[in-house]
């Protein structure tokens, strides 16, 4: 692996980075890349905007017409409650 992460690799890591799921050295290299790269900072900000906007959706907004999805989520919730 190269010492400096390039933008093309950074954008693949954004979700893991925001989840804190990157191994510490890799996360540190992302941290090192961001201050000098307005493009990747923009992508990170856009990712955050997507998450925030999605969080504002009510569960009813989101294709509640699909009974299979609802059933699966309900079944899983029932399972976790009875544990």
């Amino acid at each position: 692996m190269t010492d400096n992460l390039a933008c093309v690799e950074i954008v693949e890591l954004v979700t893991d980075y925001l989840d804190g799921a990157l191994p510490a050295p890799l996360a540190a290299r992302v941290d090192a890349h961001l201050p000098g790269c307005p493009g990747c900072r923009a992508v990170l900000a856009q990712w955050g905007a997507v998450i925030a906007l999605a969080g504002q959706l009510s569960p009813a907004d989101v294709r509640a017409a699909d009974p299979l999805v609802r059933q699966r989520i309900l079944a899983a919730l029932r399972r976790t409650r009875h544990r």
Partner: protein, 503 residues
Amino acid sequence: METTRPPTALGAARLARRLRPVYVAAGLQNVTLWVPVEKLFMTSIGFSTAAIGVMAAVYAVVVPLLEVPSGILADRWSRRGVLIVALGALAASVTVGGLSQDVGWYLVAAALLGVSFAMDSGTYESMVYDAVVEETGDGGPFERAIGRVRLVQSVALVVGALAGGVVAEVLSPRAAYFLTLPWIGCAAVAVVLFREPSLHRREAPEPIRAQVAATYRTLLEPGRLRSVIALMVLGAVLMQAVFEFGPVWLVALDVPPVAYGPQWAGLTLALGVGAVLGARPGVLRRPVLAVLAVLPVGACLLLASSRAALLVVAAQVVVIGVSATVGVPLARRLHDGIPSALRAGVASGVSTLSWLVFLPLSLAIGLVGDRAGIDAASWLLVAVTGAGAVLVGPALRAPATRTFPAQRFRPADDPDWPGHWVTPPRDWPADLGDAQAVLRAAVDDLPADQQDVLVARDVHGRSTAETAQLIGTDEAIARALLHRARAHVRDQLDDHLASRVDP
């Protein structure tokens, strides 16, 4: 150079309609009635074994020489146009061949066939991939589409071979050549009816030297594509070796002549069925990939040790089938990683590399087979499948879709900023307006598994562990699905905001 993207559900229906001429053309082109009786016909017009060797050599020289140039022509001019020329060369080859009275003219026919094959190679794939991206904005449906193309091709080959045998019996071998012509004509009509994608066209065409250099550089540069290309080459080499030398195993086992037809048909159908299976998303799960990596090695070990004809044929079918299966996600990864303007050139280049590797291998198989028997030559195939097994992980475990198209970033050998943005994305405005509606539509568009993860994580606020358990997978895959889902939503919002600012 971003294309507008209609909602996915509508796009899928339009894609199916748009690709129909491609499926039809691929099928019609492969109704090659003359193939089963070719050697018979050649012997009747005076071919000795040595002359057959010369014909194979003519073909083996013409194809690799012309593949990449015809691919670059397809990229600069038109993929459809190159296919029409290829069909013309095929028609010419079949006509000259059918009219031949001696070796010389048939060699001309063989050269024309080589031209046709070289122009075909890489062109269908590139047309299909670009049409998929144009209709749905994503490389996802490509695997199903290319699987279907391969299935249609293999079924047509088998049907054509059966019909050709009948025609040669009832009429004559020459008739089998001429009766292929109407099928070629219909294939050409289907190609003309196809609405070609225009993603590879640029406003200002690149100078040809730069395009040639970029094509070769993409083929050979170190990086993520290298393991993909290497595995594609090994797969192609393996398939070609089994098709070419497969019957030699049957000869060594004294199998009755009636078995040779079914053996060839089995291999050809395995190609199509394998490709269709390769399009299924479950193929990339770790246990499935492990099996796919090891199965061909086991099959070649069987080839080296078994004396039972049925097992030998089954092993050959497995090798072809698995290679075809793995080839589909590999093709997806190749095309996801290259810009449209280089697509047909690079795809042809992979085929040329396969030829270059196959030639010494086939000489080696011939040599070892002569000295020590064909089962000893199997060990060469064991080595090839072993090398392939090692590459399966690196080539296929990495996620397929790039978050942004390859051309947004500078290439790996850029002197100043390799891998950095060509044009960095702009920050979004503070006021996102009616983004909620766009977001809802984008989430609706998502394939079911991505939608489940996004809804569970970002709407319901569940953790990765809970989400992974909910959809029945592991955390790494759940996070990868989430990444793709968020990337799609981001793309839709970005398009919406861009069109709002610059109406």
